[in-house]
């Protein structure tokens, strides 16, 4: 077990090295350059100014040299500074990451609270009418993009509950309740789509498990249907749902950018996308490195969690 964890952590090193090389090459292959974007369409767009910026940012060195220079600094624990505004990249990530983590966790909690009970209910619930409503509803949430739902929430909120602030970010550590309340609509918008996915997983998995032999045995023992469904069936049905949640969690960390944009949340998705627009190479590199490490570690945690819920899995 320990050997497994160590092995996975060691694999992180070549993964990060590979990703950093590929991303470095790709971002420098994008047509358009930092200096032109920095100078914008002003009278400033001329050769004298270009030269000064190129010199100041060392952009005149060959790409390989720039990469090794960057790598050397990273190995010494320094992600460098933004080429656009000079702030340390580590500080930028440290500012954006908590916002995204909070949004991700709140969205996943929303998704789980909605998706799993409704998934179970869609199997065990009686009355086909309600079941149909849940199924159509879930389809709707999967299909409607989160930014659409988000915009609807904001506009309806502004019209009918003007006292509630739904935009912008307040630090969780500064004002926990306000922070959660203000982020709730964004978490709902993101969580709704994921809840629909979880609902479908739960439903499919429950249907399968409920036809298993041990469930029949449990029923034969005379257990109440409720107990059969929740204790015997659900516990086993959750394994694939956890896998799906893990994937969604990782995807959200870097991929919530549109919802971050709509709700004006200064998260890491927006940090990366803006850095790409501005060709802020050091910020893009640093953030990609960080997000990669983050994804690898979260996946490791999920794999370990598997083992916990399903003792049949073992990592030699």
């Amino acid at each position: 077990m320990r050997a497994y964890v160590v092995k996975r952590l060691l694999l992180l090193v070549p993964t990060l090295l590979g990703i950093s090389m590929v991303s470095f090459a790709i971002i420098h292959l994008i047509p358009g350059d930092l200096v032109t974007v920095l100078l914008g369409i002003t009278a400033s767009q001329n050769e004298q100014n270009r030269e000064a910026i190129i010199q100041a940012l060392h952009l005149d060195r060959p790409l390989a040299v720039q990469y090794l220079h960057w790598l050397g600094a990273v190995l010494r624990g320094n992600l460098g500074r933004s080429l656009v505004h000079g702030a340390p990249v580590a500080q930028e990530i440290a500012r954006a990451y908590p916002v995204t983590v909070q949004l991700t966790v709140m969205s996943m909690v929303t998704a789980t609270l909605l998706g799993i009970p409704l998934g179970v209910f869609s199997v065990t619930g009686r009355g086909r009418g309600l079941e149909a409503v849940i199924r159509v509803g879930s389809l709707l949430f999967i299909s409607a993009p989160a930014f659409f739902l988000g915009t609807v929430l904001i506009v309806l909120g502004a019209r009918y509950a003007p006292g509630i602030t739904t935009l912008g970010y307040v630090s969780f550590f500064a004002a926990p309740w306000r922070s959660i309340g203000q982020m709730l609509p964004a978490a709902l918008a993101l969580g709704a789509a994921i809840s629909a996915i979880l609902l479908r997983y739960t439903r499919a998995s429950m249907l399968e498990v409920l036809s298993a032999d041990y469930v029949r045995t449990a029923r034969a023992k005379g257990l109440a249907e409720r107990r059969v469904a929740l204790r015997h069936a659900l516990a086993n049905a959750l394994i694939p749902v956890i896998a799906a949640s893990g994937i969604q969690f990782v995807a959200l960390i870097g991929g919530a950018v549109i919802v971050e944009e709509v709700f004006a949340l200064p998260g890491i998705g927006r940090l990366v996308v803006n850095a790409i627009y501005q060709r802020d190479y050091t910020v893009i590199q640093g953030a990609i490195l960080f997000l990669t490490a983050n994804a690898v570690l979260i996946n490791l945690v999920i794999d370990l969690l598997y083992r916990y819920v399903d003792p049949r899995i073992s990592y030699g």
């Binding site: 400033s44 004298q48 004006a264």
Partner: protein, 537 residues
């Protein structure tokens, strides 16, 4: 109260042009007295206090006015710093940190500074800070986008604490204009810059508001500078910029009162705002933001003036303005109508090849050897949806003139780089922005020897007019030079400017005393007066 009344009520709180001009006649009054007279307009005397919350679409990338060419930086920095000169609400240059100035000969400018002006960190402004400000921008290590402008200065002398003498290398007509443009010449404190390296994350100026907090992508908080040199100003306790990128979300925030001021480039925004109680729309003060369409003149077909002229008469500028801007726009040259009389004042009179004429277009193409018309490309940036729409309208218009256009959309950084370096295939079009002087509008993009000559054309006559316009100090002669230049560019169709437009501003009606200058950037307002704003609560 209907919309028109609502709009009227708000506009009453502002200084209208006539009120100002009346005041401007009384030149003996000091500026601060000016401001007060102008503001004793209907709406009662200004009240102190309150925080104005601005909804902004883009976060400033950094706050250093000498290091950022981003309009969203200036939007904040223009309230934190002051300059030697400033523009009055009537868009005239008047002294600001300078109490007075003299021009001797055509290359020497002497400024006498106000005494006792304090930086936000509590030190008095002296002539040394002024000298430092300009030497810093000219220094290659600062990598300032304004460096090339200030290389014109040969030397700066400071005979005493309150006197600065600039000597320029040659006569340079835009000099004073640049000194009155907040982002080109904001005066910064030597000690703070030397300590922090730059002013991207921190700030200390002499302006009406001080930086309290800057959280990128989230919020910029400014608070009142109690030691601001115009006594009694500002009225507000502070200004807060909330960064809300999504326009629908920004309008929702305006409705709830989370923000009290924002802007939009959407000509239909009036309709959306109609249902919001207490929100007024201020139309743009003149059309200052022009679109620029460039031709790759390094190869056929656009190295032939007849083909470029065919495009110029193949597009119907008035129809584009009607279709894309709902009529809210104007005919323009590179120098936009709001800068008339330097530019043309919004119609095509006197400008060759500006009238729509598809027959002439076909004839010109045939003369150039393209009797069957041409196939070409037009690059447009999806970041600016109205530019894409204008491109679509132009594609239809040009098809009728025998010019078959393929529209190509590209990511902004890529498109801008190709635009500046003339590496696009046929044509490329982007919205370009207001500049503080006609010279700044045209010099670098027209000059044969410029690295960013747009389209790569060479014309010695253009170069000659550019040099004349730059060195001629007589205003009327300059006007004649730039008008001749515009006519010549239109005649040769080196580049086209399909239309000019501007952003509308949206504000709550309890926001009083608000003034903006013409020339605010599309999609981001700078050049506005928050120090005179007060909240009627």
């Amino acid at each position: 109260m209907n919309d028109r009344e609502r709009q009227k009520r708000v506009v009453h709180g502002l200084i209208d042009r006539r009120t100002f001009l009346k005041g401007a006649g009384v030149t003996l009054l000091s500026l601060s007295q000016f401001d007060r007279i102008a503001l004793a307009a209907p709406g009662g005397p200004p009240k102190r206090g309150g925080v104005l919350v601005v909804g902004s679409d883009v976060s400033p990338p950094g706050l250093d006015p000498a290091k950022s060419a981003a309009a969203h930086t200036w939007m904040v920095s223009e309230h934190v710093y002051s300059n030697l000169l400033r523009r009055s609400p009537a868009n005239r240059l008047v002294p600001d940190l300078a109490e007075s100035y003299e021009v001797s000969g055509s290359t020497t400018f002497v400024f006498r500074l106000r005494r006792g002006v304090q930086f936000h960190h509590g030190r008095e402004l002296t002539s040394d800070d002024v000298k430092f400000t300009f030497e810093r921008m000219a220094d290659q290590r600062t990598a300032s986008p304004w460096r090339s402008i200030w290389l014109i200065i040969e030397r700066i002398e400071t005979p005493d604490k309150y006197t600065v003498r600039f000597t320029t290398r040659r006569p340079f007509a835009p000099f004073l204009s640049y000194l009155g443009t907040p982002h080109y010449s904001a005066i910064v404190p030597r000690d703070v810059v030397e300590k922090s390296g730059d002013l991207q994350q921190t700030a200390s100026g002499t302006g009406p508001f001080m930086l309290e907090r800057f959280v990128p992508e989230n919020v910029v908080v400014l608070k009142r500078n109690p030691r601001y040199y115009e006594s009694g100003l500002p009225y507000l306790d502070g200004v807060e910029y909330r960064i809300i990128p999504d326009e629908a979300a920004r309008l929702a925030a305006l409705r709830t009162g989370t923000i009290q001021y924002t802007w939009s480039v959407d000509p239909l925004v009036d309709e959306q705002v109609k249902s919001m109680p207490g929100v007024a729309v201020l139309p743009p003060k003149g059309y200052c933001a022009q679109h620029t369409l460039v031709f790759n003149q390094t190869k056929p077909p656009f190295n032939d003036v007849r083909v470029r002229r065919a495009v110029s008469v193949g597009i119907n500028r008035r129809e584009i303005i009607r279709a894309v801007r709902r009529g809210k726009g104007a005919i323009t040259t590179k120098i936009p109508p709001c800068d008339a009389p330097f530019g043309y004042s919004g119609d095509e009179k006197g400008l060759p090849y500006y009238q729509h004429n598809p027959q002439l277009a076909r004839q010109l193409l045939a003369e150039a050897g393209y009797a069957n018309g041409i196939d070409t490309t037009l690059d447009v940036p999806p970041r600016f949806p109205f530019t894409v729409r204008a491109g679509e309208v132009m594609r239809e218009q040009l098809a009728a003139a025998g010019i078959r256009v393929t529209l190509r959309q590209g990511e902004w950084g890529q498109l801008l780089t190709a635009f500046v370096r003339t590496t696009y295939d046929g044509m490329s079009m982007i919205p370009t922005v207001w500049q503080p002087d006609p010279d700044a509008h045209v010099y670098d993009i027209y000059h044969s020897d410029s690295a960013i000559n747009l389209g790569r054309f060479r014309d010695p006559f253009v170069d000659q007019l550019l040099e004349q316009g730059r060195t001629e100090l007589d205003r009327n002669k300059r006007i004649a030079i730039y008008q001749q230049l515009q006519r010549h560019i239109a005649d040769q169709a080196y580049m086209l400017h399909p239309y000019a437009d501007g952003a509308v501003e949206l504000l709550h009606e309890n926001v009083r005393g608000y003034v903006s200058l013409p020339g605010a950037q599309p999609g981001s307002r700078s050049r506005h007066f928050f120090k005179q704003v007060w909240l009627d609560r």
